[in-house]
Symmetry: C2
Subunit: 114 residues, 2 copies
DNA sequence: ATGTGTTATCGTCAATCGACGATTAACGAT
DNA sequence: ATCGTTAATCGTCGATTGACGATAACACAT
């Protein structure tokens, strides 16, 4: 039986770098800026929230809940994926999206260090 | 004698709204997105950090530490001010900038709720 | 009153963003 | 093999961003 989150594989190995990576310095500046830029749009915040609540959603589900074209939603998802905050699980033509928890934690850690 | 932070007035009255305002919903989405957009640039993250460490800085100090024109830095500061994360204290032609702590807390709270 | 140091604003330019429709690709079912 | 369904990609358009130099505004000294 699939648990609430049948999207994200149990836990990615990179989850280790959470506490390891520096939280300031030039690299951290760019990392935080990239995260922030990705969520710097109301639609993407909303999508993130949708994914955070219901554990996995198909792109079409998201399109249904937003007054935007499918291509636009797909682009927003691409941006969220590009910084690793969101992950896609493809099974057939269907693609389930879900949040990548440790990336979100990393973002929170970066911001918390400010 | 001026304490480390002689910029920000003791505490703004709006500090109350920290716990009061909703942390999700459409308004919160837009609020978080606006914050994120503002810090969605490496230079602005760096400026924020400079202001977070040394409590108050003049614009010219920031210009000195960055490879950017004065007008460019001024624009970045304007963006940070526009979302309330940074505050300006004018005394003569000199303008001291500093972080607005409760705004930063609000941002962290919005993100933490994700 | 003039000058000096400081910051904001204006105008410009190339680059990026956000949205859309149209098309393509990928897979399952018939 | 063809058809539906789903999602990604492409091309386009107007709007916004990021950077700069030049200029204006401001307050303090002289």
């Amino acid at each position: 039986m699939s648990a609430p989150s049948d999207c994200c594989p149990p836990e990615t190995p990179q989850a280790v770098d959470l506490a390891a990576d520096a939280v300031d310095g030039e690299a951290a500046d760019q990392e935080l800026a990239a995260f922030a830029k990705a969520i710097g749009h109301p639609v993407r915040v909303r999508i993130l929230r949708m994914l955070a609540r219901k554990e996995a959603k198909m792109c079409s589900h998201i399109v249904d809940e937003l007054p935007l074209a499918q291509s636009t939603v797909s682009e927003h998802l691409r941006i969220l994926r590009s910084v690793g905050l969101v992950q896609a699980n493809e099974s057939g033509p269907r693609v389930s999206y879900c949040i990548v928890p440790f990336k979100l934690k990393r973002l929170k850690a970066l911001l918390e260090a400010m």
